[in-house]
Symmetry: C2
Subunit: 275 residues, 2 copies
Amino acid sequence: MYETVHTSKSIREAGMVSWLSLPTDQSVTAENHYMYSRNEQDYIQQLSIDCVIFGYREKQLNVLVPKMDFRGDFWALPSGYIGQDEGIGQAARRILEERTGIQTIYLDQFCVFGDAERSNAQVLERLISLNGDKLVERGLNSKALEWITRRFVSIGYYALVDINKVIPRKNEIDESIEWYPITQLPTLIMDHNEMVAKALETLRLNLDQKLIGFNLLPETFTMKELQELYEAIFDKPFPRNNFQKKILDLNVLERLEKKFTGAANKAPYLYRFQQ
Amino acid sequence: MYETVHTSKSIREAGMVSWLSLPTDQSVTAENHYMYSRNEQDYIQQLSIDCVIFGYREKQLNVLVPKMDFRGDFWALPSGYIGQDEGIGQAARRILEERTGIQTIYLDQFCVFGDAERSNAQVLERLISLNGDKLVERGLNSKALEWITRRFVSIGYYALVDINKVIPRKNEIDESIEWYPITQLPTLIMDHNEMVAKALETLRLNLDQKLIGFNLLPETFTMKELQELYEAIFDKPFPRNNFQKKILDLNVLERLEKKFTGAANKAPYLYRFQQ
DNA sequence: AATTTATTGTCTAACTCTTAGACAATAAAG
DNA sequence: CTTTATTGTCTAAGAGTTAGACAATAAATT
């Protein structure tokens, strides 16, 4: 029904379009089935990477989520496939750079999702019934759909980024890509909401241990800002006096000059994370 | 060179033979390439599960490791593939039952290994050069070898079992399957030694938190036995008095009658883990 | 039968770490 | 100069951990 003989230019040039698209490159044409099938084999099949990208803004933990350019309100975590000559960490890093423009970011594998029932089937059915025309437009033929609708195992990574340095980038099938406060996430497809929950749980466990929280802040920050970050992540208040002591006792912060806030009170020190 | 037209009975009947064998079932014959390729598709390609099976015996933490029936001393963790209609946890459970005969065991996913360099290539080269004849005997044709030699991503699971309840089972390509004290593991293929190390690290992190250590002991045990288990896992001594207090304060143990050891001293209590 | 020996179970003082309250320092506003 | 709001630090109280001591006891020894 959605069979088509041409591959749309936008898809062809995408290089890598995640969820609801085949991995493609310049050599792909529907006329050349041999090349097509070779290209399909350039990626590991039925295995994908989903990324929970955390940023911090206005005292709230945020997650970067693209909305798909289809009728029906479909949100999905940034994701992609793994090249045959690419490590899974490399692949995650590539996907993240594509969506944030940032190269060196904190990245941690947190879980694999691979239930048998974990399928796109219902979501896809709804999406297809609402968007048949668009799918044809974009050159997704039945073979491409078959590739996508197979059961996938997905490796979950979470990333911590300085939200000010990120320029969110849509890909070809996105209507938008935006930061959502974690308390106000939309309903995502499949088990992606569960993935965010699991990522947050892992972040909490690792925060003290690995001092990774600093990846969410700009280079210099006040103690209060750091405290508010902790409060946002753990969704609970920390007592000011003891928080300061605990952090300073870690001996990982360098104290810089005072910050002139213009406020009617003692100016706070700026701190920097000792690389 | 190793091309062959028949598939050996042993392999055909294996159902699932991990590493160095295709996933196979009764319907596979080399003469029927369509069926063959259908069968290949019964499993997710390039994705495998490797299991670190921990047991506890004679005050030492042990790992169950099969030795492969090939010239050249090849040890590999028990592993297998994931059926198309099978969750990854289900698959791990199936692999474990095949090797231990035990159904309900503690199981935890600890890491995914997926470096691009993570390849069987060198090991396989050596194995093939030493065992060309055996491979032919066992019906591994070039297509099967191609399947195996592709790059694999592997999900690591570790399991905790009561070593007394396990009857280790060889599969078709094993020369032996035995418990090795973790301090005296042989050199395993690929990154399997690294996997064991990572599994142990995760076990240590989870031991207190999830009370999973009790899965390694028989139903009743003395406090000293539990302490020795902890000492084996963490490879360090625990002070007797405080260890007892710490464990009892968890309120998860039920104290039974005293154990008559025949030793010239006060008999220790037996304890049982409150399910 | 009393004493000795080895090990188990428990108690407590000393020590450390965490928590909660208090207060001085300070930048700007009144 | 005083007031206000916030920052930085100190300390006492409380909680938890560690180290030493000692009673209980099952069998061996005398």
